[in-house]
Protein backbone atom coordinates (compact mmCIF):
# COMPACT_ATOMS: atom_id res chain seq x y z
CA UNK A 1 0.00 0.00 0.00
CA UNK A 2 1.48 3.36 -0.98
CA UNK A 3 1.33 6.43 1.23
CA UNK A 4 -1.40 7.94 -0.95
CA UNK A 5 -3.51 4.81 -0.48
CA UNK A 6 -2.90 5.15 3.25
CA UNK A 7 -4.19 8.70 3.27
CA UNK A 8 -7.25 7.65 1.26
CA UNK A 9 -7.95 5.02 3.88
CA UNK A 10 -7.56 7.61 6.62
CA UNK A 11 -10.10 9.81 4.86
CA UNK A 12 -12.50 6.87 4.55
CA UNK A 13 -12.19 6.21 8.27
CA UNK A 14 -12.87 9.87 9.07
CA UNK A 15 -15.95 9.84 6.84
CA UNK A 16 -17.28 6.70 8.53
CA UNK A 17 -16.89 8.31 11.96
CA UNK A 18 -18.52 11.50 10.69
CA UNK A 19 -21.45 9.45 9.38
CA UNK A 20 -21.78 7.63 12.72
CA UNK A 21 -21.85 10.94 14.51
CA UNK A 22 -24.17 12.89 12.24
CA UNK A 23 -26.56 10.07 11.52
CA UNK A 24 -26.62 8.38 14.93
CA UNK A 25 -25.10 10.87 17.40
CA UNK A 26 -22.35 8.41 18.33
CA UNK A 27 -19.05 10.20 18.61
CA UNK A 28 -15.94 8.10 18.04
CA UNK A 29 -14.02 10.94 16.44
CA UNK A 30 -11.81 11.44 19.48
CA UNK A 31 -10.79 7.79 19.76
CA UNK A 32 -7.22 6.59 19.29
CA UNK A 33 -7.07 5.78 15.59
CA UNK A 34 -4.74 2.76 15.58
CA UNK A 35 -7.02 0.45 17.55
CA UNK A 36 -10.20 1.96 16.07
CA UNK A 37 -8.91 1.23 12.55
CA UNK A 38 -8.32 -2.42 13.46
CA UNK A 39 -11.83 -2.75 14.84
CA UNK A 40 -13.42 -1.09 11.81
CA UNK A 41 -11.51 -3.33 9.41
CA UNK A 42 -12.64 -6.36 11.38
CA UNK A 43 -16.28 -5.37 10.71
CA UNK A 44 -15.50 -4.60 7.05
CA UNK A 45 -14.09 -8.10 6.60
CA UNK A 46 -16.75 -9.92 8.64
CA UNK A 47 -19.44 -8.27 6.52
CA UNK A 48 -17.65 -9.41 3.35
CA UNK A 49 -16.86 -5.87 2.20
CA UNK A 50 -13.74 -4.53 0.51
CA UNK A 51 -13.43 -0.97 1.80
CA UNK A 52 -14.37 1.22 4.76
CA UNK A 53 -16.44 3.30 2.34
CA UNK A 54 -18.56 0.23 1.59
CA UNK A 55 -19.22 -0.05 5.32
CA UNK A 56 -20.18 3.64 5.48
CA UNK A 57 -22.61 3.07 2.61
CA UNK A 58 -24.17 0.15 4.42
CA UNK A 59 -24.35 2.13 7.66
CA UNK A 60 -26.25 4.96 5.96
CA UNK A 61 -28.66 2.81 3.96
CA UNK A 62 -29.02 -0.38 6.01
CA UNK A 63 -29.32 0.59 9.67
CA UNK A 64 -29.06 -3.03 10.83
CA UNK A 65 -25.28 -2.80 10.59
CA UNK A 66 -25.23 -0.14 13.32
CA UNK A 67 -25.68 -2.50 16.22
CA UNK A 68 -22.90 -4.82 15.02
CA UNK A 69 -20.51 -1.95 14.41
CA UNK A 70 -21.30 -0.44 17.79
CA UNK A 71 -20.57 -3.76 19.48
CA UNK A 72 -17.25 -3.90 17.60
CA UNK A 73 -16.29 -0.38 18.62
CA UNK A 74 -17.28 -0.69 22.27
CA UNK A 75 -14.67 -1.71 24.77
CA UNK A 76 -16.00 -5.06 25.88
CA UNK A 77 -13.05 -6.77 27.52
CA UNK A 78 -13.51 -7.19 31.24
CA UNK A 79 -13.03 -9.69 34.03
CA UNK A 80 -13.60 -9.89 37.77
CA UNK A 81 -10.74 -8.62 39.94
CA UNK A 82 -8.62 -8.02 36.82
CA UNK A 83 -5.13 -7.12 38.12
CA UNK A 84 -5.60 -8.50 41.65
CA UNK A 85 -2.94 -6.07 42.95
CA UNK A 86 -5.23 -3.16 42.08
CA UNK A 87 -8.19 -4.70 43.88
CA UNK A 88 -6.02 -5.52 46.89
CA UNK A 89 -4.92 -1.88 47.07
CA UNK A 90 -8.54 -0.79 46.66
CA UNK A 91 -9.48 -2.98 49.61
CA UNK A 92 -6.54 -2.06 51.82
CA UNK A 93 -5.98 1.61 50.98
CA UNK A 94 -9.23 3.02 49.61
CA UNK A 95 -12.05 1.37 51.53
CA UNK A 96 -10.71 2.38 54.99
CA UNK A 97 -10.85 6.01 53.82
CA UNK A 98 -14.53 5.64 53.00
CA UNK A 99 -15.64 4.59 56.49
CA UNK A 100 -16.07 8.18 57.65
CA UNK A 101 -18.69 8.97 54.99
CA UNK A 102 -22.35 8.38 55.91
CA UNK A 103 -23.03 7.43 52.29
CA UNK A 104 -20.58 6.34 49.58
CA UNK A 105 -21.02 6.91 45.84
CA UNK A 106 -18.78 4.97 43.46
CA UNK A 107 -18.65 5.51 39.69
CA UNK A 108 -17.44 2.62 37.59
CA UNK A 109 -17.05 4.35 34.21
CA UNK A 110 -16.98 2.08 31.17
CA UNK A 111 -18.33 -0.91 33.07
CA UNK A 112 -19.04 -3.08 30.01
CA UNK A 113 -20.83 -6.23 31.21
CA UNK A 114 -20.42 -5.42 34.89
CA UNK A 115 -17.64 -7.69 36.15
CA UNK A 116 -15.68 -4.86 37.75
CA UNK A 117 -18.79 -3.44 39.41
CA UNK A 118 -19.58 -6.83 40.93
CA UNK A 119 -15.97 -7.05 42.13
CA UNK A 120 -16.24 -3.71 43.89
CA UNK A 121 -19.59 -4.66 45.41
CA UNK A 122 -17.94 -7.74 46.94
CA UNK A 123 -15.07 -5.67 48.36
CA UNK A 124 -17.52 -3.12 49.81
CA UNK A 125 -19.59 -5.92 51.30
CA UNK A 126 -16.58 -7.45 53.03
CA UNK A 127 -15.62 -4.02 54.39
CA UNK A 128 -19.14 -3.65 55.80
CA UNK A 129 -19.83 -0.66 53.54
CA UNK A 130 -22.11 -2.01 50.85
CA UNK A 131 -25.37 -1.19 52.66
CA UNK A 132 -24.54 2.50 52.61
CA UNK A 133 -22.92 2.54 49.18
CA UNK A 134 -24.19 2.92 45.68
CA UNK A 135 -22.18 1.90 42.65
CA UNK A 136 -23.09 3.78 39.48
CA UNK A 137 -21.83 1.56 36.68
CA UNK A 138 -22.05 3.23 33.28
CA UNK A 139 -21.29 2.31 29.71
CA UNK A 140 -22.16 3.70 26.30
CA UNK A 141 -23.30 0.31 25.03
CA UNK A 142 -26.87 -0.69 25.92
CA UNK A 143 -26.21 -4.29 24.89
CA UNK A 144 -23.41 -4.63 27.43
CA UNK A 145 -25.54 -2.94 30.10
CA UNK A 146 -28.42 -5.33 29.44
CA UNK A 147 -26.09 -8.23 30.16
CA UNK A 148 -24.66 -6.48 33.20
CA UNK A 149 -28.15 -6.02 34.67
CA UNK A 150 -28.73 -9.77 34.67
CA UNK A 151 -26.18 -10.10 37.48
CA UNK A 152 -24.70 -13.18 35.90
CA UNK A 153 -21.36 -14.21 34.46
CA UNK A 154 -20.41 -17.34 32.51
CA UNK A 155 -19.60 -20.20 34.86
CA UNK A 156 -16.57 -21.05 32.73
CA UNK A 157 -14.86 -17.87 33.96
CA UNK A 158 -15.37 -18.55 37.65
CA UNK A 159 -12.22 -20.56 38.23
CA UNK A 160 -9.94 -17.74 37.15
CA UNK A 161 -12.15 -15.16 38.91
CA UNK A 162 -11.87 -17.20 42.12
CA UNK A 163 -8.08 -17.14 41.86
CA UNK A 164 -8.15 -13.40 41.20
CA UNK A 165 -10.47 -12.88 44.19
CA UNK A 166 -8.13 -14.72 46.50
CA UNK A 167 -5.05 -12.89 45.24
CA UNK A 168 -6.96 -9.60 45.67
CA UNK A 169 -7.28 -10.33 49.39
CA UNK A 170 -10.80 -11.79 49.43
CA UNK A 171 -11.71 -13.03 52.90
CA UNK A 172 -14.48 -15.51 52.18
CA UNK A 173 -15.22 -18.43 49.94
CA UNK A 174 -15.93 -16.85 46.55
CA UNK A 175 -18.68 -19.39 45.89
CA UNK A 176 -20.73 -17.87 48.75
CA UNK A 177 -21.57 -15.01 46.41
CA UNK A 178 -23.27 -16.86 43.59
CA UNK A 179 -25.33 -19.84 42.70
CA UNK A 180 -25.06 -21.92 39.58
CA UNK A 181 -27.90 -21.91 37.04
CA UNK A 182 -27.03 -23.94 33.96
CA UNK A 183 -23.78 -22.56 32.57
CA UNK A 184 -24.09 -19.21 34.37
CA UNK A 185 -23.12 -18.02 37.83
CA UNK A 186 -25.90 -15.84 39.27
CA UNK A 187 -24.80 -13.31 41.86
CA UNK A 188 -26.61 -12.91 45.17
CA UNK A 189 -29.16 -10.09 44.68
CA UNK A 190 -28.01 -8.61 48.01
CA UNK A 191 -24.76 -7.88 46.19
CA UNK A 192 -26.20 -6.35 43.04
CA UNK A 193 -29.02 -4.44 44.75
CA UNK A 194 -26.88 -1.34 45.24
CA UNK A 195 -25.48 -1.25 41.72
CA UNK A 196 -27.19 1.09 39.26
CA UNK A 197 -26.38 0.32 35.64
CA UNK A 198 -26.96 3.30 33.36
CA UNK A 199 -26.04 4.52 29.92
CA UNK A 200 -23.41 7.26 29.82
CA UNK A 201 -21.03 8.17 27.02
CA UNK A 202 -17.72 9.53 28.25
CA UNK A 203 -17.11 11.13 24.86
CA UNK A 204 -20.22 13.32 24.92
CA UNK A 205 -22.10 13.23 28.26
CA UNK A 206 -21.59 15.43 31.29
CA UNK A 207 -21.01 14.80 34.94
CA UNK A 208 -24.16 13.44 36.62
CA UNK A 209 -23.26 13.29 40.31
CA UNK A 210 -20.51 13.81 42.83
CA UNK A 211 -18.53 10.71 43.75
CA UNK A 212 -16.20 9.51 46.47
CA UNK A 213 -14.54 6.97 44.18
CA UNK A 214 -14.21 6.80 40.39
CA UNK A 215 -12.78 3.69 38.76
CA UNK A 216 -12.12 3.73 35.02
CA UNK A 217 -9.63 1.10 33.96
CA UNK A 218 -8.41 0.34 30.44
CA UNK A 219 -11.15 2.43 28.88
CA UNK A 220 -9.30 5.65 28.14
CA UNK A 221 -6.46 3.77 26.42
CA UNK A 222 -8.88 3.71 23.48
CA UNK A 223 -9.20 7.50 23.48
CA UNK A 224 -6.99 10.06 21.77
CA UNK A 225 -5.20 12.69 23.83
CA UNK A 226 -7.89 15.40 23.52
CA UNK A 227 -10.66 13.05 24.55
CA UNK A 228 -8.53 11.79 27.45
CA UNK A 229 -8.18 15.38 28.59
CA UNK A 230 -11.94 15.90 28.40
CA UNK A 231 -12.65 12.78 30.43
CA UNK A 232 -10.02 13.58 33.05
CA UNK A 233 -11.60 17.01 33.45
CA UNK A 234 -14.99 15.32 33.77
CA UNK A 235 -13.65 13.03 36.50
CA UNK A 236 -12.03 15.90 38.38
CA UNK A 237 -15.33 17.80 38.26
CA UNK A 238 -17.17 14.70 39.50
CA UNK A 239 -14.96 13.85 42.50
CA UNK A 240 -15.48 15.23 45.99
CA UNK A 241 -12.37 16.86 47.50
CA UNK A 242 -10.14 13.99 48.68
CA UNK A 243 -12.09 11.65 46.38
CA UNK A 244 -10.27 8.69 44.84
CA UNK A 245 -9.49 7.83 41.22
CA UNK A 246 -8.40 4.39 39.99
CA UNK A 247 -6.94 3.88 36.51
CA UNK A 248 -5.52 0.93 34.56
CA UNK A 249 -2.03 -0.35 35.26
CA UNK A 250 -0.45 1.47 32.30
CA UNK A 251 -2.48 4.70 32.32
CA UNK A 252 -1.50 8.15 33.56
CA UNK A 253 -3.49 11.30 34.28
CA UNK A 254 -3.10 13.65 31.33
CA UNK A 255 -2.36 16.48 30.88
CA UNK A 256 0.09 17.39 33.69
CA UNK A 257 -1.97 20.35 34.90
CA UNK A 258 -4.85 17.97 35.67
CA UNK A 259 -2.46 15.45 37.23
CA UNK A 260 -1.37 18.23 39.60
CA UNK A 261 -4.88 18.15 41.12
CA UNK A 262 -4.15 14.69 42.53
CA UNK A 263 -1.67 13.07 44.82
CA UNK A 264 -0.72 9.43 44.45
CA UNK A 265 -2.31 7.10 46.98
CA UNK A 266 -0.69 3.95 45.61
CA UNK A 267 1.24 4.88 42.47
CA UNK A 268 2.14 1.33 41.43
CA UNK A 269 -1.58 0.52 41.19
CA UNK A 270 -2.56 3.89 39.68
CA UNK A 271 -4.71 4.97 42.63
CA UNK A 272 -4.87 8.73 43.12
CA UNK A 273 -6.50 11.05 45.62
CA UNK A 274 -7.91 14.40 44.65
CA UNK A 275 -6.32 17.23 46.59
CA UNK A 276 -8.66 19.20 48.85
Amino acid sequence: MSSSESSVEELELELLLEALYRRHGLDFRGYAMASLRRRVWRRVQLDGLATITALTDRLLHHPDVLERLLADLSINVTEMFRDPGFHRALREKVLPLLRTYPFVRVWNAGCSTGEEAYSMAIALQEAGLLDRSRIYATDMNEGALARARTGTVPLASMQSYTENYQRAGGTRGFSEYYEVQGDMAVFDPALTRNIVFAQHNLATDRSFNEFHVIVCRNVMIYFGRDLQRRVHQLFLDSLVPLGLLGLGRKETIQPPELAASYEPLESAEKLYRRRS
Partner: protein, 187 residues
Amino acid sequence: MIDLVAIGASWGGLRAISTVLRALPSTFAAAVVVVQHRAATDSMLAPLLDRAGALPVRDADDKDPLRAGEVLVAPADYHLLVDGDAVALSVDAPVRFSRPSIDVLFETAAQARGDRVVAVVLTGSNADGAAGLMTVRRHGGIALVQEPADAERPEMPSAALRACPGAQVRPLAAIGPELVRICGPTA
Protein backbone atom coordinates in the same frame (compact mmCIF):
# COMPACT_ATOMS: atom_id res chain seq x y z
CA MET B 1 14.97 8.07 6.93
CA ILE B 2 14.14 5.09 9.11
CA ASP B 3 13.17 6.31 12.57
CA LEU B 4 11.31 3.37 14.07
CA VAL B 5 12.56 -0.14 14.83
CA ALA B 6 9.89 -2.71 15.74
CA ILE B 7 11.14 -6.00 17.19
CA GLY B 8 9.12 -9.17 17.76
CA ALA B 9 10.31 -12.22 19.65
CA SER B 10 8.89 -15.20 21.48
CA TRP B 11 10.60 -18.34 22.84
CA GLY B 12 14.25 -17.49 23.54
CA GLY B 13 13.56 -13.80 23.00
CA LEU B 14 15.10 -12.39 26.16
CA ARG B 15 18.58 -13.50 25.12
CA ALA B 16 18.03 -12.54 21.47
CA ILE B 17 16.65 -9.07 22.17
CA SER B 18 19.43 -8.44 24.69
CA THR B 19 21.99 -9.31 22.03
CA VAL B 20 20.41 -6.86 19.59
CA LEU B 21 20.16 -4.04 22.15
CA ARG B 22 23.78 -4.54 23.23
CA ALA B 23 24.86 -3.46 19.73
CA LEU B 24 22.91 -0.17 19.76
CA PRO B 25 24.81 2.94 20.89
CA SER B 26 23.29 5.66 23.08
CA THR B 27 23.25 7.89 19.97
CA PHE B 28 21.00 5.43 18.10
CA ALA B 29 18.80 7.55 15.84
CA ALA B 30 15.54 5.57 15.88
CA ALA B 31 12.91 4.79 18.51
CA VAL B 32 12.59 1.09 19.36
CA VAL B 33 9.37 -0.78 20.20
CA VAL B 34 9.40 -4.40 21.31
CA VAL B 35 6.85 -7.20 21.63
CA GLN B 36 8.12 -10.22 23.52
CA HIS B 37 5.50 -12.88 24.26
CA ARG B 38 5.28 -13.07 28.02
CA ALA B 39 3.12 -14.32 30.88
CA ALA B 40 0.24 -12.05 31.86
CA THR B 41 1.80 -11.46 35.29
CA ASP B 42 5.44 -11.00 34.27
CA SER B 43 6.99 -7.66 35.23
CA MET B 44 10.72 -8.43 34.96
CA LEU B 45 11.25 -8.15 31.21
CA ALA B 46 11.92 -4.42 30.89
CA PRO B 47 14.31 -4.23 33.88
CA LEU B 48 16.30 -7.15 32.44
CA LEU B 49 16.47 -5.62 28.96
CA ASP B 50 17.37 -2.26 30.46
CA ARG B 51 20.63 -3.80 31.66
CA ALA B 52 21.46 -5.24 28.24
CA GLY B 53 22.92 -2.19 26.55
CA ALA B 54 23.16 1.59 26.41
CA LEU B 55 19.54 2.39 25.57
CA PRO B 56 16.97 2.91 28.34
CA VAL B 57 14.20 0.25 28.28
CA ARG B 58 10.82 0.41 30.02
CA ASP B 59 7.31 -1.00 29.80
CA ALA B 60 5.22 1.38 27.70
CA ASP B 61 2.54 3.50 29.31
CA ASP B 62 -0.42 4.46 27.14
CA LYS B 63 0.41 7.45 24.85
CA ASP B 64 4.13 7.39 25.64
CA PRO B 65 5.89 9.39 22.90
CA LEU B 66 8.28 7.61 20.54
CA ARG B 67 11.76 9.06 21.01
CA ALA B 68 15.04 8.22 19.29
CA GLY B 69 17.29 6.11 21.46
CA GLU B 70 14.49 4.92 23.79
CA VAL B 71 13.06 1.41 23.95
CA LEU B 72 9.40 0.78 24.82
CA VAL B 73 8.25 -2.77 25.59
CA ALA B 74 4.68 -4.05 25.29
CA PRO B 75 3.44 -4.50 28.88
CA ALA B 76 2.26 -7.95 29.93
CA ASP B 77 -1.34 -8.62 28.82
CA TYR B 78 -1.63 -5.52 26.57
CA HIS B 79 -1.27 -5.04 22.84
CA LEU B 80 1.21 -2.33 21.89
CA LEU B 81 0.22 -0.16 18.91
CA VAL B 82 1.95 2.69 17.12
CA ASP B 83 -0.38 5.69 16.79
CA GLY B 84 1.17 8.76 15.14
CA ASP B 85 4.16 9.90 17.19
CA ALA B 86 3.24 7.84 20.23
CA VAL B 87 2.30 4.35 21.29
CA ALA B 88 -1.16 3.26 22.40
CA LEU B 89 -2.22 0.21 24.35
CA SER B 90 -5.23 -2.03 23.98
CA VAL B 91 -6.74 -4.97 25.81
CA ASP B 92 -8.53 -6.25 22.70
CA ALA B 93 -8.74 -10.02 22.39
CA PRO B 94 -5.50 -11.90 21.83
CA VAL B 95 -4.55 -12.24 18.15
CA ARG B 96 -3.59 -15.81 17.32
CA PHE B 97 -3.48 -16.57 21.06
CA SER B 98 -1.08 -13.72 21.76
CA ARG B 99 -1.47 -10.49 23.73
CA PRO B 100 0.77 -8.68 23.13
CA SER B 101 0.74 -9.58 19.44
CA ILE B 102 3.70 -8.95 17.15
CA ASP B 103 1.35 -8.68 14.14
CA VAL B 104 -0.60 -5.86 15.84
CA LEU B 105 2.61 -3.95 16.56
CA PHE B 106 3.98 -4.39 13.03
CA GLU B 107 0.71 -3.55 11.27
CA THR B 108 0.13 -0.37 13.25
CA ALA B 109 3.79 0.64 12.86
CA ALA B 110 3.48 0.24 9.09
CA GLN B 111 0.22 2.16 9.05
CA ALA B 112 1.62 5.04 11.10
CA ARG B 113 5.15 5.27 9.71
CA GLY B 114 5.04 3.73 6.22
CA ASP B 115 8.55 3.41 4.77
CA ARG B 116 10.20 4.76 7.93
CA VAL B 117 9.97 1.40 9.72
CA VAL B 118 12.32 -1.53 10.03
CA ALA B 119 10.64 -4.62 11.51
CA VAL B 120 12.68 -7.46 13.00
CA VAL B 121 11.49 -11.03 13.63
CA LEU B 122 13.63 -12.99 16.10
CA THR B 123 13.45 -16.45 17.64
CA GLY B 124 10.11 -18.08 18.49
CA SER B 125 8.05 -21.22 18.12
CA ASN B 126 4.89 -19.85 16.50
CA ALA B 127 3.96 -17.75 13.45
CA ASP B 128 3.26 -14.36 15.06
CA GLY B 129 4.82 -11.48 13.16
CA ALA B 130 4.70 -13.10 9.72
CA ALA B 131 1.56 -11.28 8.54
CA GLY B 132 2.71 -8.02 10.12
CA LEU B 133 6.10 -8.25 8.46
CA MET B 134 4.38 -8.50 5.08
CA THR B 135 2.36 -5.39 5.92
CA VAL B 136 5.54 -3.51 6.77
CA ARG B 137 6.99 -4.50 3.39
CA ARG B 138 3.83 -3.44 1.53
CA HIS B 139 4.12 0.00 3.11
CA GLY B 140 7.72 0.28 1.92
CA GLY B 141 9.42 -0.53 5.21
CA ILE B 142 12.39 -2.88 5.73
CA ALA B 143 11.91 -6.48 6.87
CA LEU B 144 14.73 -8.14 8.80
CA VAL B 145 14.59 -11.76 9.98
CA GLN B 146 16.91 -13.75 12.20
CA GLU B 147 18.52 -16.65 10.31
CA PRO B 148 16.30 -19.59 11.39
CA ALA B 149 19.23 -21.99 11.80
CA ASP B 150 20.81 -19.46 14.15
CA ALA B 151 17.65 -18.98 16.27
CA GLU B 152 16.95 -20.72 19.57
CA ARG B 153 13.59 -21.65 18.02
CA PRO B 154 13.41 -21.46 14.22
CA GLU B 155 9.62 -21.62 13.63
CA MET B 156 8.84 -17.92 13.91
CA PRO B 157 11.65 -16.67 11.67
CA SER B 158 10.83 -19.44 9.17
CA ALA B 159 7.16 -18.46 9.08
CA ALA B 160 8.16 -14.82 8.59
CA LEU B 161 10.37 -15.77 5.64
CA ARG B 162 7.62 -17.87 4.06
CA ALA B 163 5.21 -14.93 4.30
CA CYS B 164 7.78 -12.37 3.28
CA PRO B 165 10.42 -13.99 1.03
CA GLY B 166 12.03 -10.65 0.23
CA ALA B 167 13.07 -10.06 3.84
CA GLN B 168 16.74 -9.67 4.69
CA VAL B 169 18.14 -12.59 6.70
CA ARG B 170 20.94 -12.18 9.26
CA PRO B 171 22.43 -14.21 12.09
CA LEU B 172 21.58 -12.76 15.50
CA ALA B 173 25.01 -11.19 16.04
CA ALA B 174 24.67 -9.17 12.81
CA ILE B 175 21.18 -7.75 13.46
CA GLY B 176 22.15 -4.98 15.89
CA PRO B 177 25.01 -3.73 13.66
CA GLU B 178 22.65 -3.87 10.66
CA LEU B 179 20.12 -1.68 12.54
CA VAL B 180 22.88 0.83 13.27
CA ARG B 181 23.81 0.82 9.59
CA ILE B 182 20.16 1.38 8.56
CA CYS B 183 19.16 3.95 11.17
CA GLY B 184 22.48 5.49 12.08
CA PRO B 185 23.50 7.36 15.19
CA THR B 186 22.36 10.96 15.52
CA ALA B 187 24.78 13.43 14.01
